[in-house]
Assembly symmetry: C2
Homo-oligomer: 282 residues x 2
């Protein structure tokens, strides 16, 4: 339990079978903890403080770097099955039994696999800006990232302007606001940037997710799931990712935000926090 905010919470480590995993805790809620799983290339500093603090108003929120990511030790595995194992090993190390999961993008895939491999550990899930197995997008993530970095360099912007937000004035203003929030951290223990090894392993896992994995197991997911995204996701298309995911899962609520993309939950952070808390509170 912690009275810290997303920007002031210290980075802690916990021993997971001999490997230190970095994590932060925000919020003092007494209910089932809410564990946040990050996107490709992300470390703890990439979580939007507006979302984390908004959720922490009612929940104990736990952010984690999985194996090999940021300040966590070890080597990032290149399968989602192994990332799901690591997620549950981390829960064990913290003494957390049943949790809620918020999986964003790649983290949303990890959450899908946790729910299938360890159904007893998940009470509810929020799957944001993510895609079911076999959907278009994940296998092209490496190329999409490279193109965005090149465009960003040419225009003197951050790649997330293009990856996460619409080119509209509202979208680009939301990108500026989001990036400014990421700079709010006052604690001096910023996370370590992700390594090339970790990104490479994540991209390998994403390629297999699109090309060699079946979404059939989603039909057995008994948990209620909030599926959420912007309406024009430039990384993993909303139609084949978000909307299809909502169709494949048996118990879903769907939220789609207009004029927004992969970062829709950050652009509409106030709406998202309200809808997420409503969903988790039921």
């Amino acid at each position: 339990m912690s009275a810290a905010t997303a920007s002031s919470a210290p980075t802690k480590t916990v021993d997971v079978a001999g490997t230190p995993f970095a994590y932060r805790e925000v919020g003092t809620g007494e209910g089932v903890p809410l564990v946040l799983l990050h996107h490709v290339t992300a470390v703890l500093d990439d979580w939007d403080p507006a979302v984390v603090d908004g959720l922490a108003a009612e929940r104990r929120v736990v952010l984690v770097d999985l194996r090999g990511v940021g300040r966590s030790g070890g080597t990032t595995p290149d399968t989602f099955e192994a990332m799901a194992d690591d997620t549950v090993a981390f829960l064990d190390a913290l003494g957390l039994g049943e949790v809620d999961l918020l999986g964003y993008s790649l983290g949303g895939i990890v959450a899908q696999v946790v729910a299938q491999q360890y159904p007893d550990r998940v009470r509810r899930m929020i799957l944001a800006a993510t895609a079911p197995a076999g959907a278009e997008g994940p296998a092209a993530t490496g190329a999409t990232l490279q193109a965005a970095v090149q465009k960003a360099t040419e225009q003197g912007k951050h790649p997330k302007h293009f990856l996460f937000f619409e080119p509209s004035p509202a979208g680009q203003a939301a990108a500026d606001a989001f990036l400014a929030r990421l700079d709010e951290r006052t604690a001096d223990d910023r996370d370590t940037p992700i390594s090339d090894q970790a990104v490479g392993a994540q991209l390998t896992a994403l390629t297999a997710w699109e090309q060699n994995t079946s979404p059939a197991g989603l039909a057995a997911v008994k948990q209620p799931v909030l599926v959420v995204n912007g309406d024009h996701d430039a990384m993993w298309p909303t139609e084949t990712g978000t909307l299809r995911l909502a169709q494949l899962l048996p118990h879903t609520k769907l939220a789609v935000y207009p004029d927004s993309g992969h970062g829709g939950i950050f652009q509409y952070h106030e709406v998202f926090v309200r809808q997420a808390l409503d969903f988790l509170r039921d």
Copy 2:
């Protein structure tokens, strides 16, 4: 122009080629007027004051009873082509050239046809809880209404509890709040309830919309369109209605609200008003 609110605006009439059409105006915005087109069985009193007043904060908002509906004269036609003609004849009578349209449910179909028959009269459209031609739902509207009335009678509730809102606690609380807002009207000139003739004609038009009409013309709609609904529409299913409409129209933004149905824009009226004004303001 009017400083009235939705609940205090007087009901006026304008002569449309010899037939009086009832309408109300709210808001003093200087921009393109926003014309609201109503759902099956609805009269002017059925518009949510929270939505009307929210939109009127920035826009001149015009509500209309089409031919034969509520206090308007004449006989309701049984085709959407004729309802679209009537809509434009009403705009002519008020001296309105280009307008924005908010079409809700049946009104969203009228708006789709206006945009195709009179493309020069429409700047932007918001299509809420509606469906493209050929989609499942509209032809069953009569049966759906009857079943809801029976269920409502048995449970001592208003049919809109079942037609517009989810059975969840949040959905039913939203229904209560919505119905209470409809009772806020202080002006003593409440509209006349809809006639059996008008409802019958509307249901005939809806059946033809599902069974004998093609959505192909939507591909030529050049206007930006905000397509919006709740995620579980019990009347015209969200997937085959809202999501399909967003796919068929070339220039769309999509908004979907969780744990809500046909009345999603009323349940999430604050979010909807903000998103609608953002969309219209661009």
